[in-house]
């Protein structure tokens, strides 16, 4: 039974920055700074993607990863995406297609200035390692025309039947051995060093243990974290440039300690406007967040005491809570399994299973879908997912629509209205359950 709550009482209290947040900020700034220095330092980089990324492998060759999706989302958070998207549309890109691509292109055409205000280096390699979305392929075909650098392509099979078969694994490993590693060797001028890769994979596994502990802390009531809005910060280092590094291990250890402390003290999650002190609704959220109005969006939840206890977006760069860990004893196979296991590489039935399990395991009030206009990979099929999860869990579903980085598609009033009716629906359900 949920604890009775005074709906009039404010849900959020004062702001406080935690050590992990500061640490992450520093790590990311240093990374971008290092990237900006590449032309001078001679360090090399590879542009690649978040889902199915091969960070450890890249780093074992001393290559620095650049992630265009992250640049796009950062541009949106800095209020630049409208202008960048306009640049891409002026170049003939349709208003119908993925806005990440257009935002990234617009940024590139406008001087390729990254989130820290420094210019990003041109790629030494386009490493088309991706899962779960065909648009990534198009994206690099477009970039390939802009830069004169080699392209290495890792095609990752889709988990259509909900399993990774030996054949699928063999296919990915063969590409790693015969295509990706030689490309990395040639760009970096270094030989493939499997021992170094193993060490990095071991570090990844340690960080992954702590990440899972953090995400699973949301099973506690009240949840000490928000697994969607807060979650995107938690996954930052491990999904991007830091997997396989000691910094990531330290970051996740610190984060875990903080979260465990909050759990012990029965504190709610921290938001940019303060901590959520009164958890009124526990939600599972499917789909990526909106980045252009991220803070406003989060506030709509926090003000109502709505805490997201599990989300699928935090699994795009790897699903770890079902037990997968990078395994140093089988380095290439484990990378293959990792790539194939990312959330958007799972079939619709697997996504339904996962979401239904989350609703039950995290004792959530229901599933809320944020459907992203320009992302077919996530969005096509979400209405069916919603219906199925409602059917299986008996808890109500809610549906809102926005976009990742195109501010034209974020209607605050509309989303707020829909959220309010959804929360009312949950309340009504509760009343029925009590009487």
């Amino acid at each position: 039974m949920p604890t009775p709550i005074d709906p009039k009482a404010p849900a959020v209290s004062a702001v406080c920055k935690e050590d992990s947040q500061l640490r992450q900020k520093r790590m990311i700034a240093e990374h971008y700074h290092r990237l900006a220095g590449c032309p001078g330092s001679g360090e090399k980089n590879a542009y690649t993607f978040v889902p199915g990324n091969l960070t450890e492998l890249l780093r074992s060759f001393d290559l620095l990863p650049v992630l265009p999706e992250i640049n796009a989302l950062q541009s949106a958070m800095r209020g630049k995406s409208r202008e960048y998207i306009a640049v891409a549309e002026k170049l003939g890109h349709s208003e119908d297609v993925c806005t990440y691509v257009k935002c990234d292109l617009g940024m590139m055409k406008s001087g390729n200035v990254g989130p820290t205000g420094e210019r990003l280096p041109d790629p030494d390699l386009l490493l088309l390692s991706y899962t779960g979305c065909f648009t990534f392929m198009k994206w690099f075909e477009i970039l390939k025309e802009e830069y004169s650098c080699p392209v290495a392509m890792l095609h990752v099979p889709y988990q259509a039947d909900g399993v990774v078969t030996e054949e699928m694994r063999r296919y990915v490993v063969a590409q790693l051995k015969e295509k990706i590693i030689p490309a990395l060797e040639s760009v970096s001028g270094r030989r493939y060093d499997e021992d170094r890769l193993r060490e990095m994979l071991a570090l990844s596994a340690r960080a992954e243990d702590d990440l899972v502990a953090v995400l699973e802390s949301a099973k506690h009531r009240p949840s000490p974290i928000d697994a969607y809005f807060g979650g995107v910060y938690y996954i930052g280092p491990i999904f991007t440039a830091f997997r396989g590094t000691p910094e990531a291990v330290d970051y996740y250890r610190t984060l875990r300690e903080e979260v465990e402390e909050r759990k012990r003290l029965n504190l709610g999650p921290v938001t940019p406007d303060g901590a959520v002190d009164r958890e009124r609704f526990r939600l599972v959220v499917e789909g990526p967040p909106n980045w252009t109005s991220f803070r406003e969006f989060w506030k709509m939840f926090a003000d109502e005491g709505a805490v997201v206890v599990a989300s699928t977006y935090t699994k795009v760069g790897g699903v770890y809570d079902t037990g997968f860990r990078h395994d140093p004893s089988r380095p290439l196979e484990t990378l293959a399994d990792y790539c194939m296991g990312c959330y958007t590489n799972l079939s619709l039935p697997s996504r339904v299973d996962m979401l239904s399990r989350y609703v039950k395991d995290y004792d959530a009030d229901g599933l809320l879908v944020n459907s992203i206009k320009s992302c077919n990979s996530f969005s096509a099929g979400q209405l069916m997912i919603l219906r199925e999860v409602e059917k299986r869990t008996g808890r109500p579903g809610g549906f809102i629509e926005s976009d990742l980085v195109d501010p034209r598609y974020f209607s605050a009033a509309n989303i707020k209205n829909r959220l309010e009716s959804y929360f009312q629906m949950i309340e009504q359900k509760r009343m029925h359950a009590v009487h």
Partner: protein, 403 residues
């Protein structure tokens, strides 16, 4: 200009048969075929599947291309947001209204994220039917992508057998490959003729034939094409008009309504190349008939597949294939005709446009949905485009390449 009522005589009869098949979203001909043969029929989504393999196991491959403008969407819209292309919703509609009951399953080729997700939706919605996702490699090396694809074909074969199809046999696959090769030749000869004398083979007719080929067994389809070819030869009424020769591109998956194709022709364009109903021409040239037939299928996929937005192009310049097609068809311009919200087509377009501009090929672009009913705006746009080609291109050179 020809009368909108369509061709008469033998030609009219053949085109009429094809149009009837095209309009029958309830797949009456497939029902009839199944009743007659007692065999399985399995649907597939655009763009490509190895039809030869299905045929060899006694299965009728049935190309499902959405509902076009023949279908009222009642349930399908409840499954899709407005910003997703139309074909998955009309396909689901057909599934839900029982039109596809005659099918023993569906194959979903790796085309794009929408089709990929639809494969899972199908599993949830029709748990008792076969729902097979055919993952095709984007790596085109024999030992890597080829291995993977070969295994995918065997998986497909086993899945069909598990549903009651004949088990795989190399000899019968060899025969099927030969039948499809003959069919590809027939298709290609009509495309050739259209390239040379487009007034003889209006695209709206050729399109209907290709659509008929989606529901007919290959033997009957080849015969239909041959009959059409003969009727064309006998026809003396079709005369060349001063129309602009264009390549239409971008509609490889969701198909434009027939009315739109007719509108393009009526607005003064001869369509001399296109990517409609792509499966019939996805493999360029014949598939080898001598080797291990499964290997031959794999090889054809790796080496003979056409450049398409759904295929990763590692080397070369994206769009240069389009310029080659323009040249080879003696076309004077390109019409980009992509389904709204079709990511693969729309993301490719700017790259192709850049190459066209470099090559000095004029183009125009619009988007459609398969159930569009109003073509006036498109007619004006392509009419102006055709006029500008006719007015501004060097008269002496017009049509020179095509002959």
């Amino acid at each position: 200009m020809r009368s909108p009522a369509g061709p008469e005589g033998e030609l009219g009869k053949i085109v009429g048969i094809a149009e009837k098949l095209y309009r029958d979203t309830a797949l009456g001909s497939v029902r009839e075929w199944k009743g007659r043969t007692g065999s399985l029929a399995v649907g597939f989504m655009p763009v490509y599947i190895p039809r030869e393999l299905l045929h060899a196991q006694g299965v009728l491959p049935v190309g499902i291309m959405g509902g076009g403008d023949n279908l009222e969407i009642i349930r399908g819209d409840a499954y899709y947001q407005s910003y997703i292309c139309h074909i998955p919703r009309s396909t689901l509609e057909m599934g839900l209204d029982g039109s596809l009951d005659v099918l023993d399953g569906m194959i979903f080729p790796a085309t794009c994220d929408v089709i990929r997700n639809l494969s899972g939706m199908w599993k949830l919605q029709f748990p008792h039917k076969l729902s097979f996702y055919l993952d095709v490699p984007q790596d085109f090396d024999r030992g890597i992508g080829g291995e993977f694809y070969g295994r995918a074909l065997m998986d497909l074969s086993r899945a069909l057998t598990a549903r009651g199809a004949r088990p795989y046999e190399a000899a019968s696959l060899r025969k099927s490959i030969a039948l499809y090769n003959a069919n590809r030749m027939q298709v290609e000869s009509l495309f050739d003729l259209r390239r040379r004398e487009p007034w003889k083979v209006p695209t709206s007719e050729l399109y209907l034939l290709l659509r008929a080929g989606q529901v007919l067994c290959v033997e009957d389809f080849t015969k239909l094409l041959a009959d059409y070819g003969e009727a064309l030869e006998a026809d003396t009424t079709r005369r060349m008009m001063d129309q602009a020769r264009v390549v239409v591109t971008g509609s490889f998956c969701e198909q434009p309504p027939l009315g739109l194709i007719r509108t393009l022709e009526r607005s003064g364009c001869y369509i001399v190349d296109d990517d409609f109903v792509q499966v019939h021409r996805w493999i360029r040239g014949p598939i080898r008939e001598t080797a291990d037939p499964l290997d031959a299928l794999v090889e054809a996929f790796l080496d003979q597949g056409v450049d398409s937005p759904i295929r990763f192009i590692a080397g070369g310049e994206k769009g240069s294939e389009l310029v080659r097609r323009v040249r080879c068809a003696g076309a004077e311009g390109v019409v980009f005709c992509a389904a709204s919200f079709c990511d693969p087509a729309l993301l490719d377009q700017p790259m192709a446009i850049k190459v066209l501009e470099k090559a000095g090929v004029p183009y125009t672009a619009f988007k459609f949905a398969e159930n569009n009913g109003q073509f006036q705006v498109i007619r004006e746009q392509t009419g102006t485009f055709a006029d500008s080609i006719k007015l501004w291109s060097d008269e002496g050179n017009r049509h020179a390449d095509a002959h």
